[in-house]
């Protein structure tokens, strides 16, 4: 399963079998992709749309489902001025087909056999590949200690909120911390600011535990978080990053 293998990357069609609205702007697309070769947590796919006049637009989306799942799940944030995401979140319906190719990537991946303490820092929809990692971890027999620090704008923007609550409640060595950058709901006990050094000192593994860190989100988030981790004594090589552009939807 899931070895990249000598396989040419080809465009193929997936059938949308389920659509889950995660937040007002974010939906998960569950796809049945015949002959899907398997994937690793953290990989992505390229999605291609073709207009009636032949114009094509391509975007990359992280895979949200773990390797163990039957369907391939993509979680997509709708960007109102985007070319692709407004179609995926808003127009695509169960039963429709979607053209994609993958899995792609080998750098920003995590395998459950890696027993270093796992630190995941996600900003907005940057949580998607990290969720694939947490879902993969949840189905593994040996569970390495893991910590997710997830930054969202507001409470309603938290993707996978209930599932994250459930995963953390399993009490199997995973802790989940939220921070909200634009809103402070009544009764909220999480953080209410951008990720900073003091927050990481409180939640992140100390550097002497030689953790594996994965940081994914918008470029400014990733740059800031990776710099803070190196400032805490993390070796740059322990910190894997994946950036989203300001456009690209």
């Amino acid at each position: 399963m899931s070895s990249p293998g000598p396989r040419l990357l080809k465009w193929e069609l997936g059938d949308l079998v389920e659509l889950v609205q995660e937040t007002p702007k974010v939906a998960s697309l569950y796809l049945n992709v015949p002959a899907w070769p398997g994937h690793l947590a953290g990989q992505h796919v390229d999605v291609r749309l073709t207009a009636d006049d032949g114009y094509q637009a391509e975007r990359s989306y992280s895979i949200a489902s773990p390797p163990e799942d039957r369907w391939l799940a993509l979680t997509v944030e709708r960007l109102d001025d985007g070319e692709v995401s407004p179609y995926l979140v808003g127009e695509l319906k169960v039963g429709d087909k979607l053209e994609l190719r993958g899995p792609i990537g080998g750098y920003f991946v995590w395998r459950a056999g890696d027993d270093r303490p796992l630190l995941l820092l996600g900003g907005g929809s940057g949580v998607v590949p990290l969720m694939a990692m947490l879902r993969h971890r949840a189905s593994a027999s040996h569970k390495t200690p893991a910590c997710l620090l997830y930054s969202s704008r507001g409470y309603a923007d938290i993707i996978y909120r209930e599932e994250l609550d459930r995963l953390a409640a399993a009490n199997d060595g995973l802790t989940v911390h939220h921070t909200l950058t634009r809103e402070k709901p009544t009764g909220w006990t999480g953080y209410t600011r951008r990720i900073d050094a003091a927050m990481l000192e409180e939640v992140a593994w100390p550097h002497d535990q030689m953790p594996a860190a994965y940081v994914c989100g918008p470029t400014p988030f990733v740059e800031a978080a990776a710099t803070l981790l190196v400032g805490m004594g993390y070796q740059p090589i322990w910190v894997k990053t994946e950036r989203f552009g300001p456009t690209g939807g």
């Binding site: 293998g5 990359s60 190719r101 792609i104 750098y107 470029t219 400014p220 894997k240 552009g245």
Partner: protein, 90 residues
């Protein structure tokens, strides 16, 4: 942060494009900068996709490592800034 900084992506974003060209997984391929000699996996390098083509820069010294243009049924690669590119066979 400057506008150009905000446009920065990383090598993960061109995993599909490089796989078209080289046919194998390339984000773990190691590239050595011809200018400063720093070696990095492609997943770690800086990538700008807003030019007419794709521009790949060294995260150490910001020199251009590669320029890639794809269109009209052809690929055009400028690897002047790359000293070596090492990757696993399929």
């Amino acid at each position: 942060m400057k506008m150009t900084e905000e446009m920065k992506l990383d090598g993960n974003a061109i995993g599909g494009l490089l796989r078209e060209i080289f046919t194998v997984e390339m984000t773990m391929a190691e590239t050595t900068c011809a200018n400063c000699g720093q070696a990095n996996p492609i997943g770690r390098v800086d990538v700008y996709v807003h030019a007419p083509g794709t521009v790949v820069r060294c995260p150490g010294c910001e020199s251009v490592l590669m320029k890639i243009v794809h269109g009209g049924g052809r690929y055009w690669l400028d690897l002047t800034g790359t000293r070596t590119l090492e990757f696993a066979e399929a």
